[in-house]
């Protein structure tokens, strides 16, 4: 059965000092229901995810005690993708007709802190200062630039484009454009990554209304088909965060596997994508993920970025809402923010920069610790034949 997204809702991303995580989630769900022109009483399944900001299923006490099923998921940065996959599977299996998917988080200021024991690592790993996500991003980026002949300027171009897109998006957190020169000259947090090449923990919520095909036409003028959503964990030989050791030639990645699965399921190829959102927790991650998902070849990123091809008007528009770099990362909400943006792009009602030329095929990619990726292919009904 075809699964379609018929409503989207999203809070502003950034800091919400007066609102709790559940407040944000409620706001997003109500907006998504209104967008679909339906009501909570019509929803027979909800799937929610939050990394640290409350129990998603506690939302029933605010939205209505209707007795619906409400599983919750928690897969780091991949939480949103896993929540969407869970809802889609239930609809395909006939266990639900109208589902709400919601992801939210409200993180404190500063870099994330991580507990070694929860990752199966010895206390020494945290005590000695190795358990820092930004270190990992920097080390993986440095090696990638080295292997594929990419410049640090290409990292800055990723950030400059993200902030350009964020500046145009009314729900984005960072809304001031920065030049390539400003990004390169900023404080080196974990070289080669500067302050503006790393996203920051932030706060926000996103919700979707998902239905089967037969209801989709009733609920949305232009339903967006979820052509595929795939989730994969790492195989041996990938370069993951919080790894005291690696294979001498780490070439695998859960992003490669999840993207390949999603494109195969959808029967589409990466070259057919009109608008893409890929995980950009840092500029280097975006460069890497563009190639790992098949959207470009390894090493091709330098020219794509220099030529403006990843801008909204380019051949491969990427992170058109500013991505994690301009929105920060509320872990539970990030993956669904990507879907929110792609749905709006395909429907021609982007809140920020609209990709011209009636895009028909969208792609989303998230990647989370300790090596989970979720990819989705979204198409507009009646897509080009």
């Amino acid at each position: 059965m075809t699964v379609a997204i018929v409503g989207v809702g999203m809070t502003r991303f950034g800091r919400h000092d007066e609102l709790s995580g559940l407040d944000l989630a409620e706001q997003a769900v109500r907006e998504a229901l209104a967008d679909a022109g339906t009501a909570w009483s019509d929803v027979d399944l909800a799937v929610g995810g939050s990394n640290v900001s409350g129990k998603p299923d506690a939302l029933v006490s605010r939205l209505g005690l209707t007795g619906l099923a409400f599983p919750t998921v928690r897969n780091g940065c991949a939480t949103g993708g896993v929540a969407l996959a869970t809802a889609a599977d239930a609809i395909r299996a006939g266990r639900a007709r109208t589902a709400v998917v919601v992801g939210f988080d409200k993180h404190e200021r500063g870099a994330f802190a991580s507990d070694p024991a929860s990752y199966g690592l010895g206390a020494w790993y945290g005590e000695t200062g190795l358990m820092v996500t930004t270190q990992y991003f920097a080390m993986k980026t440095r090696r990638y630039l080295h292997e594929h002949g990419l410049s640090e300027e290409s990292l800055a171009r990723v950030s400059a484009r993200a902030f350009r897109n964020g500046a145009a998006h009314p729900r984005a957190w960072r809304r001031s454009p920065l030049s390539v020169e400003q990004v390169l000259a900023a404080a080196p947090v974990n070289p080669p990554l500067t302050q503006y090449m790393l996203c920051q923990p932030s706060q926000g919520a996103v919700a979707l209304v998902v239905t089967g095909e037969e209801r989709a036409a009733d609920l949305a003028e232009r339903p967006v088909r979820l052509a595929a959503v795939s989730v994969r964990t790492r195989r041996y030989g990938s370069f993951e965060v919080f790894s005291p050791s690696l294979d001498p030639v780490p070439r695998r990645s859960p992003s490669i596997d999840a993207a390949d699965s999603a494109f195969r399921t959808a029967g589409l190829s990466p070259s057919e994508v009109d608008v893409a959102q890929v995980q950009d927790t840092d500029s280097g991650s975006e460069l890497i993920h563009l190639a790992e998902t098949g959207l470009c070849a390894h090493g091709e990123q330098e020219k794509l970025l220099a030529d403006g091809q990843t801008d909204a008007e380019g051949a491969l528009p990427v992170n058109t809402d500013g991505g994690c770099l301009a929105n920060g990362e509320p872990i539970g909400a990030s993956g669904l923010r990507q879907v929110h943006e792609v749905v709006r792009q395909l429907q021609g009602r982007a809140l920020g920069r609209q990709v011209p030329g009636a895009p028909r095929v969208g792609f989303t990619h998230v990647y989370g610790a300790p090596g989970t990726s979720s990819c989705a292919v979204l198409t507009l009904e009646g897509a080009r034949s």
Binding site: A123, W124, L130, Q135, N190, P191, P192, P244
Partner: protein, 130 residues
């Protein structure tokens, strides 16, 4: 006598050698010692001493103090370099006792012990081979 952050990380301390696991079936080497092979899933790998010298495979500098459970030095935080070192069979992550200006991929390094936290305990690190 040297006190280390975790004795299980080492096969010996003088000179220091790191303890890894080598799969009895596929030969995959991992660090620290684990109960089964992450590649082929076979339990009961052999414990082996890893090479004590290699080359820098990638690196960065930690410029800001990490949140707990990181324990800063008694004298306060100062930036430190970390990286992965190619020991042949495996890449191992650790501190690099090399001036950032001298760090580069391919730099030859060797295993040493270095004090961490309040200075009462040591961990492994890599310094430039003289």
């Amino acid at each position: 006598m040297t006190t280390v952050v975790d004795p299980g990380l080492f096969t010996s301390l003088d000179p220091p050698r790191l303890a890894g696991s080598r799969c009895r079936s596929c030969g995959t080497v991992t660090f620290p010692v684990g109960g089964s092979c992450p590649r082929c899933t076979l339990p009961g790998p052999d414990t082996v001493a890893l090479a004590d010298a290699g080359t820098v495979w990638t690196w960065t500098v930690q410029t800001f103090p990490p949140k707990p459970p990181y324990v800063p030095p008694a004298g306060g935080f100062s930036p430190y370099a970390v990286g992965y070192v190619d020991l042949g069979d495996v890449l191992v992550e650790g501190h690099l006792l090399v001036e950032p200006g001298h760090l580069r991929i391919g730099l030859p390094v060797r295993l040493v012990l270095t004090p961490v936290g309040d200075g009462s305990r040591s961990t492994f690190a890599f310094e430039a081979t003289p």
